[in-house]
Amino acid sequence: MVAILLIAAAGPGLASAAEPPDAPSAVVGEVAARLEAGTASTPGHRLGGAAFTLGGRLPSAPIDLGGALSASGGTLGWRVDPRAHMRWWVAQPNVGPSLVFEYGVRAGAGLVEPAGGIGAAWDLALPREDAHHRLRLGGLLQVRGVQPAAGVFTVGWAWGPEPEPPPPPPPPPEPEPEANTFPDDARIWLPHPVCRWVDESELDDVLASLPPDQRAHVHAAAMATLYTDASGLDGAVMEPAPTQGALLVVGQPGDRVRVGEHEVSAGVDGVVQLAIPEGTVEAHVVGGGRETSLLVAISVGHGSWVRVPEPAPTLVDFELGRADISEASRAQLQELVELAGGWRFELQGGFSPEGNRASNIALADRRAEAVRQALIELGLPEAQVAIIPSAVPEDATDAASRRVCTIHPRPAGEDRP
């Protein structure tokens, strides 16, 4: 066994005359190991052989397989050692076989024979457009072992045009846009001034009979809506036919609307809009102390507006001359808090006309404050409740009805008086 270590440090590459002027030039790294078998006329002197190469070229071919035929000559001891071989890189189809010439100096003879030298390679162009000649120069270091087999390891760099990588695969063809076709059962309605259903087959003729600037609005019945112009259906945009209707619950800011699984708070305009499949739905509305359910019929492609009734003021009764809240009134206030939504409430105390007016006004204020405290205790945020000046009775016809605190619901965001 003869082990040969060949380290080739190639010099700057020289482009051949056949190389295209715009061929890329790059630094090429090359690492290879090969096993050779050959014949020798004298021990340590190999005249020819064949090799199997495992190596790589950076960056284009990190791993490659190749084959080589070689011939060398020289003398034992310190001697010159010219070598020549041909090499094929089978994994780089656009690189041709290389003719390699190496000229080195070997030290001694035996199992290990280190040597150094320089070499040159001539990459032959293949008869194809993306191949070209390449000349490489470099240094080498080799260790030769026992004949007739030899192990060779090479590593080095070369400068020269790098074969272009294979072109990327062409992108997949873009799908053809779908033809703007009508469903078989479509009908087309030409509105004012034509006012007539037409078949697709006669549509172009009909449109051609209209003035050039006439714009026709075309429906495909129950399937889609089309817009086109007098040029025909080319470029017409088919819009999906609606499958739902729109429900618009017209309440007040602060209302909360529940329809099925949807629960939405009304916006600043007090309107909640939902897309609903066709049929009858129940809209449940809470806010301002009232709770309302509204049955609404939804029609596909239509808007159905339904208005929520305004909440009525709530009256909290008091005993004559008293400002404490009864259990019944507390239950009444509890329900009001639960149905408050985002509304505000203005409290206006009242009194019956008997007695001193100044003390009655103070009593009315105490009644309003008692209601305010109760509402807050029951969970109504303090910001949603306010006291306004008491109501002075105009006559004594219904004294009992004046011994109340009136709770005025106000939509969220509405200016305070």
Partner: protein, 338 residues
């Protein structure tokens, strides 16, 4: 356009003429193109030799004098509308449905329909009539003449409105007959209502004639008159002007249907109208209210429209509805409009 309308030609061609004050059968025959046809006209209408019809009489012309008869057709429908068509029977009305003579069309309490009556021979000019909710009418005749068009309908109950002529449109005579009287106009722009004891006519944009018991009354634009059963037309009444629309502003998006307008001092009430188009041939809603605002509890509008138009008219203490305000446009919110 001509090709489109060929299919609407009717095999029957019995034209009709309204007799105005001073008209004679001979003059009508001459105007129809055959002065010698007076006897045929009398024979067709059961008149004795030498008899002259009273003003307001609707004469049937012999076929030889008639124009080109055309079937009326449904222009737009919203809500419940049905028709009883000769040789077919009772059917639900659909857009573009032909309505031959003697077809009876009725709207439900929520129904609106606009019918294209006569169409000119060359196309492009037509006479439309809109039936408001709770209305029934029978199409007597629709035809095109060399010099205009002629349509006659019998209004059995309810109310109709006829839009004014559009820019450049040729005149066409529309005659509406009720049990009490006859209204005839050549420029559109009027309303006729069947009332419990007669009819009411409002001339909105141009003059017209009202007939009752052989008496012809000419109304100017902005006037109204009643014709009681068995009586002559009442003296003209000046219609009130419209209240100026206030909200929603023109071009707004219709989220809250809160309509309001300026009060008219002597108004007894107002009538709000919503339609698909600015000419209100595609009526969607008509509502009477007693204050200068309308906040409907429920409203159903189609989403396949480019916009909604609304206007308001004033109802005076005699029940006459005045000239509508200038239309305002509203956009439908995204989600309502597909």
């Amino acid at each position: 356009m001509i090709a489109l309308l060929v299919g609407l030609l009717s095999a029957h061609a019995a034209d009709r003429v309204v007799v105005h004050t001073g008209d004679t059968v001979e003059a009508i025959a001459a105007a129809a193109g055959d002065p010698a046809a007076a006897a045929a006209i009398r024979a067709e209408n059961g008149l004795a030799d030498g008899d002259q019809p009273r003003p307001g009489t609707i004469l049937v012309l012999p076929d030889a004098l008639s124009g080109t008869a055309r079937d009326a057709a449904v222009l737009s429908v919203f809500g419940g509308v049905h028709a009883t068509i000769p040789s077919i029977g009772k059917v639900a009305v659909e857009t573009s449905m032909p309505l031959p003579p003697e077809s009876r069309v009725c709207t439900d309490v929520d129904g609106y329909v606009t019918i294209r009556l006569a169409v000119s021979e060359g196309g492009g000019h037509h006479d439309d009539i809109t039936l408001l909710p709770g209305t029934c009418l029978t199409i007597e005749a629709t035809s095109a003449r060399r010099k205009g068009r002629s349509s006659v309908v019998a209004l059995n109950r309810g109310s109709i409105t006829v839009p004014p002529l559009g820019p450049g449109e040729q005149r066409g005579e529309i005659t509406v007959a009720t049990e009490a009287g006859v209204t005839s106009a050549e420029d559109g722009g009027f309303r006729v209502h069947v009332e419990e004891a007669g009819q009411r006519t409002e001339a909105l944009y141009t003059g017209l004639s009202v007939f009752g018991e052989g008496v012809e009354l000419s109304l100017r634009a902005g006037q109204g008159s009643r014709v009681p059963l068995g009586g002559a037309p009442t003296s003209p009444v000046d219609l009130l002007g419209a209240g100026t629309p206030d909200a929603p502003p023109n071009g707004a998006t219709l989220r809250r249907p809160d309509f309001s307008w300026l009060r008219v001092e002597t108004a007894l009430g107002y009538q709000v109208e919503l339609a698909r188009s600015a000419d209100f041939r595609d009526m969607l809603v008509l509502q009477s209210v007693d204050r200068p605002a309308w906040e409907p509890d429920r409203l159903l509008l189609p989403g396949d429209v480019e916009g909604i138009w609304w206007r308001v008219a004033t109802i005076d203490r005699h029940g006459f509805i005045g000239i509508p305000s200038k239309p305002r446009r509203l956009d439908l919110p995204p989600g309502v409009r597909p």
